[in-house]
């Protein structure tokens, strides 16, 4: 039948479907300039205000090197220390925020248009995850503009190494958001749950303080928090300081991402 001829192979169709859904997310992100600005200003305030304020409050006595005081070995000051953490925070919040688009799509009815198209549900989940993670990565990249202001030197090679890592982290975190959003019906509910999840994730990730000398209850929470390894990954590349081996970070983040993606695909595959 002609219908089947026009359809192509299932794989081809699903790949185009993923691309289409990805394209829509990216296009809408690019169009919404106020969102881009808002998502840049907020972490910038964290970085500059908290970085300055708390940085001044902490005497830089952790390490003395050639008569110079440093915050940590090889880390010039507090602001430099939290900079990679703030990049991770930006990615975390953008990833989760972009997952809201699923609930939004359901609310405006657009999700039906996607659900009734001749592509598989898993392709919808993966397309959404790719779209959201691209957006989160771009937003994370915007934070790199602050490097010169706070005195962090970024070479082209560093940036080149950083981009795939940022995408990698974005992917895992977006998959987490999508897995949650796919099961939720209301925006409010999603926002509440996500605040409940993202804030502790951020606080317990070592983004704002070193994790080397914590009480054991907190140490456990930090270690089971996937974001910890994302922060560590970015910190290793951006300022050359890390608590865990990079390869270790990559494994854990990847495992978490795949697990979340599986949950997201599962959530989409269930018919009501």
């Amino acid at each position: 039948m002609t219908v089947l001829a026009e359809m192509g192979t299932p794989l081809q169709r699903n790949l185009i479907g993923i691309y289409t859904i990805w394209l829509r997310e990216v296009r809408k992100f690019w169009r919404d300039k106020s969102r881009i600005i808002g998502a840049t200003v907020q972490p910038a305030l964290f970085l500059l205000l908290l970085g300055t304020g708390i940085g001044r409050g902490i005497p830089q006595t952790f390490q003395v090197n050639n008569g110079m005081q440093e915050f940590l070995p090889g880390v010039k000051d507090y602001m430099t220390f939290i900079y990679p953490g703030i990049i991770a925070m930006t990615i975390l919040f953008t990833s989760v925020f972009s997952a809201i688009s699923i609930i939004w799509d359901r609310e405006i009815g657009f999700l039906k248009e996607v659900m009734v198209a001749p592509i598989s549900r898993w392709a919808v989940a993966i397309g959404k995850t790719f779209g959201g993670s691209t957006v989160a990565m771009l937003q994370g990249c915007l934070m790199l503009l602050f490097a010169p202001i706070i005195g962090v030197k970024l070479t082209p090679l560093t940036i080149l190494a950083l981009l795939p890592l940022l995408l990698y982290i974005s992917f895992s975190l977006t998959a987490m958001g999508i897995a949650a959003a796919a099961r939720m019906r209301s925006m409010q509910g999603f926002t509440v749950i996500m605040n409940f999840l993202t804030l502790p994730m951020f606080f317990l990730s070592g983004a704002m303080f070193p994790v080397g000398n914590l009480p054991s209850w907190m140490d456990i929470l930090v270690k089971i928090n996937p974001l910890t390894y994302g922060v560590d990954m970015i910190r290793a590349v951006v300022i050359g300081y890390n608590d865990y081996p990079l390869i270790y970070d990559i494994y854990i983040m990847g495992f978490f991402g795949l697990l979340m993606l599986a949950l997201a695909v599962l959530a989409f595959s269930e018919r009501e």
Binding site: M1, I16, D32, V116, P118
Partner: protein, 329 residues
């Protein structure tokens, strides 16, 4: 003539907090190729549930259906490629332009690259949206959005186009516009149209109508044949003493006289025009007004179900819902 839709013993039971709700009760019917087929019934009768099952959004509890020769359970993707959908509730991305909405659809349905631009152009022209194609959909009026949705539903050249309450929430003028498009479509394209409505005047346009109530099809025929089940014309009258009038008419003409409080009494009578003069002369009671009306599908529905089409849920309620959604944006 071949059937493009075949539905056999479809059953859908929802689990609710208080127990089970049967939304579709053993429904069987078929739709012929090229036909304009209508589902007429009040809100909540099971129209949307049936359509959702046919377009593979919902899984039936029992029963089977084939569309364009494809089984809804065994080959859902081929079913989806064969159908176009215009949903009851808006389903456009308002933050994209009209053209982008169509491009998105063209990609999802894997329309070959060389045909894409041409088909999008064709649909925009047909639905008279060419001039506004690069504007964001959020700036469109309700009628334009509906037209864009129809354009989108047709873009991949489906064999069947489902229109679920295509004129819901539109003003009368826009409604008649949309109907012009639908009828033009039927003339020009080789397509089967399947629509649901709770407006009897819209159902009149259909080739065949399935009257559905409480999840069951209670009649299926052409509008004319359905109207013929009413024994002639409808005669409405008011009298000074309705009780006596009712009793006398029943006795003398052996017809069933029913009451419709604001309008008075009514009954069915063949060849109404010829009946009235004699009727007025013979009547021993005082008639204050009398009118005659050809039977409508509303009458058919009333006769079949014992209640009005609009009884169930006031339309204003669903309009309010639509309104609230628009405001929340």
């Amino acid at each position: 003539m071949t059937n493009v839709i075949e539905v056999e013993h479809l059953l859908k039971i929802y689990k609710t907090k208080t127990g089970f709700h049967t939304a579709v009760r053993d429904v069987s019917f078929s739709v012929r190729k090229g036909e304009l087929f209508g589902f007429l019934g009040p809100n909540g009768a099971g129209k949307t549930t049936t359509i959702s099952i046919l377009c593979t959004l919902l899984r039936p509890t029992k029963g089977s259906a084939t569309l364009n020769g494809f089984d809804i359970l065994k080959n859902p993707h081929a079913v989806r490629q064969s159908i176009g959908l215009v949903f009851q509730e808006p389903s456009l991305d308002e933050r994209l332009t009209a053209r982008e909405n169509l491009e998105f659809h063209a990609l999802l349905y894997n329309i070959p690259r060389i045909l894409r631009a041409e088909r999008i152009q064709q649909m925009l022209t047909m639905m008279e949206l060419e001039m506004r194609q690069d504007e964001l959909v959020r700036h469109f009026s309700g009628g334009m959005k509906r037209r864009l949705e129809i354009a989108r539903g047709l873009l991949h050249h489906p064999k069947i186009l489902f229109l679920d309450e295509p004129t819901l929430g539109l003003d009368p003028q826009t409604r008649s516009y949309i109907w012009n498009y639908i009828q033009e479509l039927k003339r020009k394209e080789e397509i089967t149209l399947f629509l649901t409505t709770h407006h009897m005047d819209e159902a009149e346009h259909c080739d065949r109508i399935a009257v559905i109530d409480h999840g069951e099809i209670i009649a299926l025929d052409t509008p004319d044949s359905l109207k013929k089940t009413i024994g002639g014309d409808m005669i409405y009258l008011t009298a000074l003493n309705p009780k006596r009038a009712k009793e006398e008419i029943t006795r003398r003409y052996s017809v069933q006289v029913k009451e419709d409080p604001p309008k008075g009494l009514y009954f069915e009578m063949a060849h109404g025009e010829e009946f009235i003069p004699g009727f007025i002369q013979e009547a021993s009671f005082k008639i204050t007004s009398i009118s005659i009306r050809r039977p409508t599908l509303e009458d058919v529905f009333l006769k079949l179900t014992g209640h009005n089409l609009r009884d169930e849920l006031p339309e204003s309620l669903s309009l309010m819902k639509t309104h609230a959604r628009t405001k929340n944006r």
